[in-house]
């Protein structure tokens, strides 16, 4: 029994560190906040964190297969623009609009998957190019910022349930329980981890490599579209903002790494990523409550990111032979 525990601890070290870091930082944030602990603060923090968390989950799944999806930020922006044109009017129409947005995310993911799996292009460069396409679609849908989003919908997904739990957290928990955990336990989910460890070995063991990789990119599109819906709820409008998409793509990679998923694939998961995303977002909040000059904030954020990614190099102390360092 004891051995099970130590195994569990060592295999979940990344997510646990990220979770501990988040709890510590968030406690500090709330204790320093002038207004103290209130639902409003928690709700705002949850919405901002969940926004990045969904994009980062989208990034996690292809990364597990040792791929990468540089188009998640642009799918996110495109879903935002689409939602701002479709999630309007009467509740029934708005609900239909939500469905269309989710399907559009799936389609974007499917296009990425097709190109990577059947076109056999490297994921980095393929998704870089499809990202440009999705951004073009976003611009086409919304040449100028705007849109009249159904306010009931927007307030609902960014509000809180029973004045206690932020809905975005419920949405995240739902995504983990209904999509991530079943996926993790399915044949194709396990195949994704196997491919990330060694694609050749996975292929030789009869793992459905092509289908698993394809599904990974499709799910990435879906999660990015959910994030786009959430953004629409926060801003009540749509904007084809290339800078926003780019920064979310890059932040999502950072969140994946902080959450303990290996960029080489094969280990990690969405739960660590969620904490990674919340850690990154809480850094910004902390800078705010500690009244740091806004001018210094980007530098400070960069420093924190650099230190957190360099922490992984402590493993070098455990390497016994130098040749093991090299691939």
């Amino acid at each position: 029994m004891r051995r099970d525990w130590s195994y569990w601890l060592s295999s979940n070290r990344g997510p646990l560190i990220a979770a501990a870091l988040f709890v510590a930082m968030f406690t500090l944030f709330v204790s320093k906040h002038p207004a103290g602990f209130s639902l409003n603060i928690v709700n705002t923090a949850a919405n901002k964190g969940a926004l990045l968390a969904f994009v980062a989950i989208a990034q996690t799944i292809p990364v597990l297969t040792s791929g990468l999806d540089l188009s998640v930020g642009m799918v996110f922006v495109m879903a935002n623009c689409l939602a701002s044109t479709l999630v309007v009017g009467r509740p029934v129409e708005a609900a239909l609009g939500v469905l269309v947005v989710l399907v559009s995310g799936l389609l974007c993911g499917a296009l990425n998957g097709l190109i990577v799996v059947f076109g056999r292009l490297q994921p980095i460069i393929a998704t870089l190019a499809t990202g440009a396409i999705y951004y073009g679609v976003a611009l086409w849908l919304r040449p100028a910022p705007g849109g009249a989003v159904n306010e009931g919908f927007a307030d609902f997904i960014t509000g809180s349930l029973g004045n206690a739990v932020p809905f975005s957290i419920v949405l995240l928990a739902g995504a983990v329980l209904l999509i991530w955990i079943p996926y993790r336990r399915s044949v194709l989910g396990r195949a994704a981890f196997a491919i990330g460890s060694s694609e050749q070995a996975a292929y030789m063991s009869g793992v459905p490599v092509a289908r698993a990789k394809f599904l990974a990119y499709v799910l990435a599109g879906l999660f990015a579209a959910i994030a786009g819906l959430l953004l629409t709820g926060l801003t009540y409008s749509g904007e084809a903002n290339a800078l926003l998409g780019g920064s979310y793509t890059l932040s999502s990679i950072a969140a994946v790494v902080v959450g303990g998923t290996s960029l080489f694939g094969g280990s990690g998961g969405a739960i660590g990523t969620i904490f990674g995303a919340f850690v990154l977002r809480t850094i910004g909040d902390l800078l705010f409550v500690f009244d740091l000059d806004p001018l210094w904030q980007p530098l400070f954020l960069g420093m924190v990111l650099l230190i957190s990614v360099s922490l992984g190099s402590f493993r070098l102390l455990r390497v016994k032979r130098r040749v093991d360092l090299y691939r």
Partner: protein, 317 residues
Amino acid sequence: MRGMIDRIDKALLAALCCIVVLLLGGALYSRNFLSLDYLLQQLQVASFLGVIATGVMLVILLGHIDLSIPWVVTTGGMMSTAAAGHGGMAGALAIPFAIGCGLGIGLINGIGVAYLRVPSMIFTLAINAIAQGLMVVHTSGFAPQEHATPAMRFIAVERSILGIPNAVWMWAAIGGCTVVLLRRTTFGRRVYGIGNSERAVFLSRGNVDRVVVACFAIAGACAAFAGVLLAGYSTKAYQAMGDPYLLPAIAAVVLGGTSILGGRGTYLGTVAGVVLVTLLQSILSIVQVPEAARQIIYGAVIILMLLVYGRGQKVVS
């Protein structure tokens, strides 16, 4: 070996064909496309991307990637104009000072990747954020007021020899050095070796770490020099001036036949890739279609070209 050479040639050939097709397609739209003036103008614009792509290619050949390019370019531009603002001796040293800054950032990138063993994608991302932070603090978030020195204007805009822009000569000089470095030195052989198998280079007593650091340093210096050229071209530096160059640089290198996994690619291919990407952007901006369609065509064309000649091997065993 034979198959490898054939592969590279195929990519270069395909890139050259695409360039010809683009030029002919453009010529159908307007006669000006084949005029000497337009072509020289395009080469001048391409030289900025070409200098950046040189460094990016070295890093990609190692099997790494450098995402700090955008703000190293901006750092190069801002540091050179800042030195120019001091006037006198500092103004005269503006260009070497900016390149030195880029070299320094590249060294840090290299140390992080080679000695700390942090994946290059995430380490250079963090360095990019720090370079951005430093520049925001330096400029207080505004566009810097200083202007480029005459020397910077001279290398970026003027046409001194044979009517060819000086920027193109600069690119040619850097490119020539890179070809010699990659083809004629042990260092170059090691770069290709590391891209194929770091472990093999280590076991054959090559100093992997030092080669990696050097490549990242060169990439930083190239990016900063491109920043100097850009600042000279538009007479001043501005925030995020390097942002539009990262993706085209990577696309140019890959379209030129360099494997994004490292270990394979030629400089000539990169040159073709740079010209190709520049022409594509130029034609898309001249042909009057909305920005949205331009983005879609840009992405689709890159995917299509890669599908024609950039496909990977099928996993069979």
